[in-house]
Assembly symmetry: C2
Homo-oligomer: 262 residues x 2
Amino acid sequence: MDKNILLKIAYDGAGFHGWQRQPDKPTVQGHLETVLSRLFKTEILLNGTSRTDAGVHALGQQASFKADVNIPVEKLAQVVNNALCGCEKGSFAISPVRIVEAEEKPPEFHARFDARGKTYIYKIRNTQTIDIFQRNYVYHVAEPLDADAMRQAAKLLAGTHDFKSFEASGSTPRESTVRTIYRLELLQKEDLLELHVTGDGFLYNMVRILAGTLVDVGRGRICPEQMTEILDAKDRQVAGHTAPPFGLYLAKVYYEEGELYG
Amino acid sequence: MDKNILLKIAYDGAGFHGWQRQPDKPTVQGHLETVLSRLFKTEILLNGTSRTDAGVHALGQQASFKADVNIPVEKLAQVVNNALCGCEKGSFAISPVRIVEAEEKPPEFHARFDARGKTYIYKIRNTQTIDIFQRNYVYHVAEPLDADAMRQAAKLLAGTHDFKSFEASGSTPRESTVRTIYRLELLQKEDLLELHVTGDGFLYNMVRILAGTLVDVGRGRICPEQMTEILDAKDRQVAGHTAPPFGLYLAKVYYEEGELYG
């Protein structure tokens, strides 16, 4: 009997061409499907919640698959992690992909369609000197950023708006570009600024354009008050730059609406 | 007129097959020589102090080259860093190789032969949970480590000894395997243990075997008191395991003997 298994997955996106399977490029989905198919001796197809771009990381991507899995679900994460490691004895290499947890869901559950919202974290390192060891994991901004101005702007962006100005130009047209941001908060830990964004859904590149626009506010190139105009314009050209992929982390996927407001 | 230029170089070794030039693999020396040769429009050959292995990092590798450089030496680091970046406008990518500083040396100066000693840092992360984003930058050890026992052992290893037991087996025989460790210190910053090793020279894999042996002491598999026996045995088999390359950083090269004892 097939079970419907939901995996919570963390990955370091630095070495991957994004989540989505591609014929000749290493992707997270492709890698994981290969390992799972070998493990369960049948072709496994994953149904991921979010198609993260090349270089984007995840702390809590979610993906489901259906298979006749005879391993108890509470042992599944460990078994898959051992298979993902795939390292010879004596090697200390750690896999860039890690199953955080696994759970069984009802047959009709769908990892993407049943998602009610997501949290992304965008990490900005604000120091004069570059740290080369962080280059794949944070967006380095050398000019001093005015975090208070960024917070003022963030307040104006939170809520339900048409976010068309924050969608990559040339995106496939959607039924609606109205989205709700439940939380848009800028946390500071010494040199590190972390933007936490929780919303019911995101347009293409939306979090990276939000982050880039707030960085432009922090640099003084855009005033916080301009956020309202930018939203009203419904034009990608008037928002700030698109922040690079490597600062972005898919942090959490919500399947219960109540959790979103928590 | 050719100048003799000494570069201090930091690099993230994760994407490289070590320092030394190889015909068909990306190496730090190969990459830097290509960029410098293009910049100065003549073939540049680098003379590096240390041939770091694949995956090993550097905060302060040193390498010299001779060329008719017409850029003022104080501007050289910036010019080479701009060339290393090689990024198109609008890209935010940071180069894994960075020139920390450049200086002119007398014609007879030799980056390797004139080195009087080096400091390496070995980073160990001692936590139960794996952090996949650190996997290329620290050695993750899940079992709790007894840092006091490791410090006791370190004390017995410092000084002038025959370190044959701490040389990779199968290494090309050397005139002498006696080396002096001026400093062998274990620093603790929360979950991170940093081993700082300063010596007049190092045998092949010596720092990684020292680190692995101290980790085995921290786990209780080897007693601190055994260090004397291990040194006396002059046999690789009796020392601990070789810690993986990705925790290792070449931190500093000394050209003045006085600095070594400082």
